[in-house]
Amino acid sequence: MEKEELRIGVFVCKCGSNIAGYLDVEALDEYASALPNVVFTQWNLYTCSDVGLDEIKKGIKEQNLNRVVVASCSPRTHEPLFRSICAEAELNPYLFEMVNIRDQCSWVHMNEREPAMAKARDLIRMGVAKAALLEPQEIITSEVEVRALVIGGGIAGLTAATSLANRGFPVILLEKEKELGGMLRSLNRLAPMDVDASEVISKKIKEAEDHPNIDVYTGAAIDKVEGFIGKFDVTFSANGTTKDVRLGVVIIATGAGNLVPEGMYQYDGQKVITQWELEEKLKIGKIDGNNVVMIQCVGARSAERQYCSRICCAVAIKNAILIKQMNPAAKVYILYRDIMAYGVENEEELRKAKQLGVRFVKYDPERPPVVEEDKVTVFHHLMGKELELPQDMVVLSTPLIASEDAVKIANLFRVTLDENKFFLEAHVKLRPLDCATDGIFLCGSAHYPKDVRESILQALGAASRASIPLAQGEIKIEPIISTFVDRDACRGCGLCVALCPYGALEIEETDEGRKANIITVACKGCGVCAATCFRHALGINSFTDEQIQAQIHGFLAA
């Protein structure tokens, strides 16, 4: 194909006084006009204003510009706008280059006019050099299979599945156990509503099982996962049969496990039990003896497991209240480090427990309680003296720990776990329900220990996030992603596959031998593959080696 003549237009922005107050914009405009391949320049008071944008359109039409450079603010603020204006003038939006002479020049060198001018000239010259090598790109669209997979049939998974189904989306719900319901099946009553856990969960199970949009599979195990957002191909087996399904999105709601405190505080599962085991006893209403001592933070907030399990204080308070209500003569002690009765309801429950006569003793982790045959000895940190508490039963509050399947699921879906093997969200504050891999969401205690209310909340939120690609039916992807700059050079070594954090590369056998294949929809354009490919076969659109080298040469050409 014959190379077209390069006609670069440069638009230099004053940004009111933000740039013009510190740089001579008209001089920069004149400077740009003498750069190679530049056929048109123009300065504007505000390039982003309607007037400024019209000038760009006019330039493209009247001057036949085929590359546009705007020297103004940060691409973070206005690159999408300028690109869309190029598109309106029928210029491929990826033939646009932005040069930041405000945030990275006028703002940071306010008191150094001459050096700042030199830097602005350098930046513009580099931008023009790169622009000359820009190639047109097309937005990539990919269809989304309108069906969701929810992994885990506990309160979180059931809630998420039902919410999506209510919106009209078909859902496949997988549960590894023979029955739906998860942890709530084993719990007694729930605070602060004081309702029966099994009633709550039975209602949720029925709702999901009866829903025409939900296919439930119990006794299920996932064998294989391929694909990416919009097209996850999942093979799973349930009750002896194997199924292949294609799904658009995935919600991970695999819950958590219970720590068994072997070797701690004389734990024997009989007289020294966990809160989990106490729930069973309370369910059948059988508590022996009058003296109950609960110990918090058993196996948590310690050197080997640093995190706080969030819910155990509330669980201990709830069970202490139930014991006092069953047997007002009972003496219930809760030995704690900090009482984590966060929020409105938990603090209310704490107060209620105190009113019922539950005793709270703060212990020092340096001097932990000692459990003996019929007593617990504890140093009361706030009284500064040792107490001997008679005991008929010791209840250990142990943390929720990551589900034993977490590692397997994480590997199958190529998502990340945190240091405690809970699933890691894409961003703690801004994307708390998304995995870093597109199309995969998380909720419930798979993320971190949560109570029922919080699990329901997160499940609805994850359903909301997952419904976006389902409702849109297709996803649009920025084409600034990995690309072959020299496919022949690829030897299929697989280094890029191993290093890609998004699972966007694979090796395939082709007629030309082993070659990498780029899964464009999964690629985020981070550039790790291009940086590691020693054959220089891979590059990133709009950031190819040639383009970056052109910028460097442009810089040195001063």
């Binding site: 919410s163 984590m340 500064g384 801004l430 329900l433």
Partner: protein, 428 residues
Amino acid sequence: MEKVTGSNGDFAVTVRKKARYVDEDLCTGCGACAEKCPTTVPDEFNMGLGKRKAIYKYYTQGIPSTFCIDAVHCRTFQKGKKCGVCEKICQAKAIDYKQEDKILELKVGAIVLAVGYDLFDAAKLPEYGYGRITNVINALEFERLLSASGPTEGHVERLSDLRDHELIHSGEKKLKKATKTLGKYEKKHKKSSADFYKEFTAGNISDGDEFAKWAKQYESVQEATKKLEALKAKAEKFDVATRLAFIQCVGSRDFRFNKYCSSYCCMHSIKEAMIAKDHEARTDAYIFNMDLRTVGKGFEEYKVRGAEKTGLNYVRGRVAEITQDENENPIIWYEETTSQTPKSLTVDLAILAVACEAPKGIEKIAEMVGVELDHNRFFKTDPLNPLDTTVPGIFVCGCAQGPMDIPESVAQASSAASRAAEAVAGKA
């Protein structure tokens, strides 16, 4: 929002969009108007610690990036004053003094109440001296002091020092003006003010209105100079505030005010202390608490790091009283409960972790949409349906439902969207 009618799936909402007196389509957000606006007012966003103009943006990254005129303070809107500076300066011709409120009629299927929260007014606890002791501030005020875009550009300074700097600034301005007036007398009578005053007090100059005025002026200049010098001498010793006391549970877990726990304040104080230490390595921070509620993912780890790597001091004890010494430094009086010892600690700033309360005006909104509030004035929900208010089709998220931190608010917002979508689909 002015009026809501209808029901689940089919609401009609009347909204008043207040006039901003700046055309959103024309304004480029350049800020030239605010630079030239002659009217300065305390900046709400900076908790009154900084200043803004009468034409302003609530905060720098605010969306839309359009300025608006605060008609209560703008000279053009105040009778009898001519100004119009912003209109003259605006090259985009975006200023429109005649803009009027717009009434919008919206048809919606569901409503999400995300009206946020207000801070507890710490002045209700006289023992902590907020509002009386200058260097006792609340956690959000401290947040502004820490912020690079805040009134001190991230330097943590005592409010008394900020006040004195302001006094020096305004004192110098006044003195300059007064000295100029003296200069006029001196020129007219060809005599230095000092010489004149000597003669005047000796009774060598006969009485006359003008001479009396001159003498008075000279006296006040002398006095102002002395005051200013004293202030400047004091200001020379000013340093960044390095001794910080964070007081937890101010207005929460308190039977007189809010019995509930405000959830986020423990982590907020730890974070503020860590950042302060980051800004200034000499910082010595104390966090006075009953329980440190580090219940979120990574929170306990953060707290431990705060102690081990950053050297924060966590003190278990509820502060009894805050007084101040002769240098306006707060003195914290408390019992260190883990050693059963009453103690005191003098600091540069005391930072009160004030409770998260339901916002002012929530009753009005509740009445308008017909939903119930709980006994803490937050929108009432059921823990098993945590986003549903007492009216179908109306949902709640964020601190309007109860105190919560950012991750929880963001997750809840998505959840509320889910419920709203179900409502629109006729399934909620």
